[in-house]
């Protein structure tokens, strides 16, 4: 069976797109071939900056013939029906077969599609693949209309077997497929003719192209490590950079250089970021001091002077870059020493955070007030938390962060220490952004925790207040991440910071700022036919109308008249008067529950990833105190663990049985059985045993629940399993005696009440 080799040779493909492109090429071509009836043994895709390559082994030489039989109308059917059948099958009347069927003579169409040769199928599939290739960004060039990531120069497409290789005929916008490729841009001359994948890979290697990016990565990593080791240094691992650099070279040549003495005093993060982002250099550190002292650069060519010129050039560029960084660093330190970090933060007044939520300075003022309120709940000093809030974003105004946004927070920490601020404040500069993702560390220092929470809650409350929630994949302000951040801060620090309370505080902060800057507040009720004005006031009302669905917060020129007339013109917002400001906001009464639901939805996703079923989470969400995420997660974890035990599963069955019997009886009798079970009406040993077990469980569960020790509470619940099972086996609940029956129902209700005090087990499946 033949092998297929495809190479799409183009101008330089962006490194970041290559891995995905390899996968896409493999999938699109193999799927297309299989769909057209070919099979293959194996496929592998490769990329260099100038080529995407696919090698398929053991492809069938042609597709099998397909015979399809379709039943049509009866011979007696109207002419129109027969014509329709002919149209749909593409046959003529004399090609149809007449057969005897249950309903008499019936037309049958037998369509035989002959097998097709592989080349015809490959040409079709490859053309479709190229034309629909899912590049993140593609372009046209010259006079053509074909789109590719960069101009496509040639297509190599050959089928080869023992007998030799044949070119698959294909022409695409003037490019004829062939059996030729080209080697390294500078180290190789002329076209290379290839006859198979092995021939291709070997000839490319001779032409200074390493086809496999994994091989290039391994080569770079090994050479870089060896060079560093020989110099008594150590390479700093950076997988992302390694894969990027491997996508920038066809013939990697690794060079080690030193960082100028002048720059060794810069923070390591600055050196590393500057080298990585601007120059794609790896950092090399001195293992004794931990300082970054050197770099590794990877050239794409070998030279007669063994890279001396290249290294010199790179060193020069690095010096220019680091001179800039050093200038920024020294400038920033000077700023800090003259005006302090708070002085540096001054400029944030002029930086818009969001046009409806004010400047960064406005936001910081809100976070400061909120951090003060949260601080006692997390064991932090309110004054320190407030100080941290005031300075933790100051570095956004520093020259260094202006140049390297990814150093935000990190530079703040350096500058805070330079300014002699307390260590918890310095820590908070970086930590208040954390956790940045599911694998990022969660701050534990109390001051950091207080401001990290305040930052996230202010953001969430603000965007909910202006009704800009994440939709679908759009979440430009990373609100989902903020929710998860808050949850992880709570759970991992065992905090008890209920969402409802902090949202009230955060909302209060927004209202204070609106009152300070705006002079007109319009309560609206949204109805089917539009908005109805409920009231117009000069300040944000202390309590809003119950019907209020939206509040317009505005700064206008003639507020007095509108307040006096209790009238508001919607057009006023749109007439473009520069001095005026007006936004629609949502009232607290709508923000709070909606935000809580969002928290719960995200938490479900989060806990599901941890292996906790959605119904288990629902059973816990239905309990009081569900705005306390720590409590919620503890309860859910305990319940999930409990249900995995035999006792748990069986008790759940017992509970459901008890609950079903009760619900039916309650519906039938029109009463609620909730109180009054008395052991004196018990007739059997099993009944008495259940009474005793419930008493014992009650005694254990109440204090455990009070201590929020869900594991113990559920353990106690599990002790009910045997007596409950025994009860159901031995006892007929619906006894003839109404007294006995009522007593037994009330006994079941004790099981229900007890179980429901731990979680809402009715929500559980199964």
């Amino acid at each position: 069976m033949p092998d297929l080799l495809i190479e799409l040779f183009s101008e330089e493909i962006p490194a970041r797109m290559q891995a995905r492109a390899r996968e896409d090429l493999k999938k699109l071509v193999t799927d297309g071939l299989v769909e057209a009836g070919l099979t293959y043994g194996g496929a592998a895709a490769f990329s260099t900056p100038r080529r995407l390559t696919l090698a398929i082994e053991g492809l069938t030489a042609e597709s099998a013939a397909v015979r399809e039989e379709r039943k049509g109308p009866s011979a007696a059917a109207p002419e129109a029906a027969i014509e329709g059948f002919l149209r749909s099958t593409g046959l003529t009347r004399d090609q149809l077969e007449l057969r005897d069927d249950k309903k008499g003579q019936t037309f049958f169409a037998v369509i035989t599609k002959p097998g097709r040769k592989a080349p015809a199928i490959i040409a079709e599939v490859l053309e479709a693949t190229i034309r629909t290739f899912p590049w993140p960004k593609s372009m046209r060039w010259g006079n053509g209309s074909l789109r590719w990531v960069r101009p496509l120069h040639s297509i190599l497409c050959i089928l080869s077997d023992e007998a030799g290789a044949e070119v698959v005929p294909l022409t695409l916008d003037g490019i004829n497929a062939g059996n030729q490729t080209w080697g390294h841009r500078f180290l190789s001359k002329g076209a290379i003719t290839v006859s198979s994948f092995d021939d291709y890979a070997a000839k490319l290697k001779r032409a200074h192209v390493l086809l496999d990016s994994a091989e290039r990565e391994a080569h770079i990593w090994a050479d870089a490590g060896n060079l560093a080791f020989a110099a008594g240094l150590e390479l700093v691992e950076d997988k992302g950079l390694l894969s990027e650099v491997a996508g920038l070279v066809e013939w990697p040549v690794v060079l080690l250089g030193q960082i100028g003495e002048d720059f060794l005093g810069l923070p390591p993060e600055v050196l590393q970021t500057s080298m990585r982002e601007h120059q794609k250099f790896f950092s090399v550190k001195n293992p004794r001091t931990g300082r970054i002292e050197g770099f590794v650069t990877v050239a794409n060519t070998k030279t007669a002077d063994h890279g001396a010129t290249i290294l010199k050039g790179n060193q020069k560029v690095l010096s220019a870059r680091l001179s800039d960084a050093k200038f920024f660093w020294e400038n920033d330190l000077r700023t800090v020493s003259t005006v302090g970090l708070e002085g540096m933060a001054e400029g944030l007044k002029n930086v818009t955070f969001h046009n409806k939520l004010g400047s960064q300075a406005d936001r910081i003022a809100r976070i400061e007030a909120l951090a003060r309120e949260i601080a006692p709940l997390v064991g932090a000093s309110p004054d320190l938390a407030a100080e941290a809030a005031r300075v933790m974003k100051a570095d956004l105004q520093s020259a260094m962060v202006g140049e390297f946004p990814e150093l935000q927070g990190i530079m703040g920490g350096y500058y805070a220490r330079a300014a002699g601020l307390p260590e918890p404040v310095a820590l908070a500069c970086k930590a208040h952004y954390q956790p940045l993702g599911p694998s990022d560390a969660v701050p534990s220092d109390p001051v950091s925790v207080a401001v990290a929470l305040a930052d996230k809650i202010d953001t969430l409350t603000g965007f909910w207040a202006i009704d800009e929630k994440p939709t679908g994949s759009k979440d430009p302000f990373a609100l989902r991440r903020a929710v998860l951040g808050k949850a992880r801060l709570d759970v991992e620090n065992d905090l008890r910071v209920g969402i409802n309370a902090v949202v009230v505080w955060a909302f209060g902060g927004l209202v204070r700022q609106w009152n300070a800057t705006c002079n007109l507040f319009v309560q609206l009720e949204k109805r089917q036919d539009g908005f109805f004005t409920l009231d117009v006031t000069q300040e944000y009302p202390a309590s809003l109308s119950a019907k209020c669905t939206d509040v317009i917060v505005a700064r206008v020129t003639d507020a007095e008249r509108m307040i006096a007339e209790k009238k508001w013109k919607i057009q006023y917002l749109a007439d473009g008067k520069v001095r005026d400001f007006g936004i629609y906001t949502k009232p607290m009464s709508l923000v709070s529950p909606d935000l809580l639901t969002f928290f719960h939805d995200r938490l479900k996703v989060f806990l599901k990833d941890q292996g906790i079923r959605h119904d288990v989470i629902d059973a816990c969400l239905a309990m009081p105190g569900n705005d306390d995420l720590t409590l919620l997660v503890k309860r859910a974890e305990a319940l999930a663990a409990f249900l995995k035990t035999d006792d748990g599963g069986n008790l759940l069955q017992g509970f459901k049985r008890a609950n079903n019997i009760l619900t039916q009886a309650e519906a039938k009798d029109g009463v609620e059985y909730s109180y009054g079970a008395d052991v004196k009406f018990a007739e059997t040993g099993e009944e008495r045993a259940l009474f005793a077990a419930l008493d014992a469980a009650d005694a254990a569960i109440a204090p455990a629940m009070k201590a929020e020790d869900f594991a113990t509470a559920m353990q106690a619940m599990a002790s009910l399993r045997a007596p409950t099972d025994a009860f159901f086996t031995a006892v007929q609940v619906n006894a003839d005696s109404p007294v006995v029956r009522r007593n037994r129902l009330n006994l079941l209700s004790r099981i229900r009440t007890l179980c429901l005090s731990v979680a809402d087990l009715t929500k559980l499946d199964g």
Partner: protein, 309 residues
Amino acid sequence: MTTTAPRSFQEIILRLQAYWAAKGCAVLQPYDMEVGAGTFHPATTLRSLGSKPWAAAYVQPSRRPTDGRYGENPNRLQHYYQYQVLIKPSPPDMQDLYLGSLAAIGIDTSLHDVRFVEDDWESPTLGAWGLGWEVWCDGMEVSQFTYFQQVGGHDCKPVSGELTYGLERLAMYVLGIDHVMDMPFNDPQSPIPLTYGDIFRQTEQEYSRHNFDQADTDMLFQHFKDAEAECARILAADEVDKAGRRIIMAHPAYDQCIKASHLFNLLDARGVISVTERQAYIGRVRALAKQCADAFIMTPAGGSQPQEG
């Protein structure tokens, strides 16, 4: 190809001129207005539009008021030179042509590491974007290489290939100079050798002071408004003049767009445009560029067929 190393800034420019002239480009002169980059020259912005083939190369003095450093920074200048090449449709060997130009100014690829690193170009003020690379020589960006996809909101058909060389930086690298002001402008063996600093140090100081401290912002705001209004007025004029000739004034209108763009840059350097206003001003310049592009493609140079009156 072996070439002797160039010895001065001007020699590098002259070699580029000779190279691209030999490759068939019309060697144009700089545009006589203040622009932020060579792309603003109508020979690029407008000529990249429409179906007519085009090949031009030119030096364009460029001004970026915010980059002024009083002549002290080794690399940053508020006035500098770009070398610009625009070929429409982009030829299949555009990369090789470009590499040939590096060889012409003494960059030998058997000693240097030349690479094409992804860098997509976008000009929010021109409503333009393209895909391409920044070209690295030994880790330093020496040129921008772009295939224009859209200009002034119009799809480019055919696509132009654009090359932009940052002349000072490129020359400093080729000549081995660390501070731009020390770079020989003419041949250092000349009877009167002149460095870049001899010519530009004082002007960098003067313009830095002017741009940062002295430019009259009220006047600049007014001029911005005037240019904006004038652009619209020119384009709104009847296509047929008093003698009955159909003449669309795309270029005069585009001059006003260039003016507005530069005035915005000056206002930005003076720090009087807030972050939110910034977007709005960029949007206003873009609107002008788009209208000029719309007008240009209705002209003969823009590929429009003459209409019967």
